[in-house]
Amino acid sequence: MYTQAMDLAPKDERKAVRTAGEAELERRFEARIDEGDYVEAKDWMPEHYRRTLVRQISQHAHSEVVGMLPEGNWVTRAPTLKRKCILLAKIQDEGGHGLYLYAAAETLGVSRDGLIDALHAGKAKYSSIFNYPTLNWADIGVIGWLVDGAAIMNQIPLTRCSYAPYARAMIRICREESFHQRQGFDALNVMMREGTEAQRAMVQDAVNRWWWPCLMMFGPPDKDSTHSEQSMRWGIKRIGNDELRQKFVDATAQQARVLGVTLPDPLLKWNEERGHHDFGPIDWAEFWRVVGGNGPCNRERLDARVKAWEDGAWVREAALAHARKQALKGAAA
């Protein structure tokens, strides 16, 4: 999964106090980026590049981990053993994706506990999509099909991110993400083909509720996106929000026809001239409301994360105490 609007951040970060030496290093750094060279952890990098990446990668990691919660809601109620196994495997993947990404962020010289503290204190964001509830079983299918589908669209360009540890993590993630989208579509397809009228209505209801938030996952329009330009310059971001959103709409419109559901947008229509689908205006006020902490589940999600962290503290401490004791024993022997 993915955090939208990862380039949303305070505007005061670009402090232009640089020595002549730093300016020369930055010039060489940008020349390397222009040549398509990758940046590794120990290479010199502008402080702003480093901070942008710490923010983006950590928020991406938080999203993977928080993203386990809406799906975890359905583990005990999955309709069959097969679906339960699939769901557990997918949730485990999300946890794994979070770990790859935390490790990538740590190469930039930050501690994992520090990143997690920032999440728990509400200082770091995660993708707003996970602040919506999973009300019925079809929501789990729709998360796979649409949420993970949007995530894949967003994430594939990140496999070419200029920061190599992030790019490597993203290659692994993208490889695993494809199963997430396909199992979602498959679950919905079974409901549409073999289900009752009520089950088909559940699918349509879930699509209706998730469609617009999914379009918001690509972040604000490029013209309003504060950090897009710099991120493009540095090869952190490769394709703009609007282009990715359009790509997602075009791909999904066709899949929706195959599935037999309607996307809840009366203005959605193929535009022969543009070679793309036109679609209706997005309610950005809702997006900012949810980013700002006032979505349907923001408080519940954060409370669940903090509780898991605090309840697990004794396990982390005990494992460490055990390891130290064994090490002392080994040293004494």
């Binding site: 590794e40 120990k42 290479d43 010199w44 495997a89 485990q92 993947d93 794994g96 770990l99 790859y100 490790a103 740590e106 501690s111 994992r112 506990d113 490597r168 993590a169 692994r172 695993e176 982390r316 401490e317 494992a319 460490l320 055990h322 390891a323 130290r324 064994q326 090490a327 002392l328």
Partner: protein
């Protein structure tokens, strides 16, 4: 106070190397936090081999790895650039024996 007695909230970092198939090298695939080597192996299995990506795992405390300095890259590696005679393609042999 020895290193082991210090209060340390975060589990140490380990680098993980996985052998994909018998006959191949172990390859670096990422890192993770674990309290000790045994747990590091266990967690590496969960994090890096969920789809049969490996048949053997090495874990090494990250602090134990010594790496070359990126600043020394030119000094270390550029001298090899003009030693083309170290490559078999440098030598043009008669056609009859060129598969040598």
């Amino acid at each position: 106070m020895s290193e082991n007695d210090k209060p340390r909230a975060e589990w140490p970092l380990w680098e993980v190397f996985v052998r994909a198939r018998a006959g191949l090298d172990h390859k670096h695939c990422g890192s993770l936090h674990a309290p000790d080597a045994k747990m590091a192996i266990q967690l590496a299995r969960e994090v890096y081999t969920r789809r049969q990506e490996g048949c053997s795992i090495w874990v090494v405390p990250s602090a134990q790895i010594t790496a070359s300095d990126p600043g020394d890259k030119d000094m270390l590696f550029d001298p090899m650039e003009d030693k083309v005679y170290r490559h078999p393609t440098f030598y043009e042999l008669p056609e009859a024996v060129n598969h040598m």
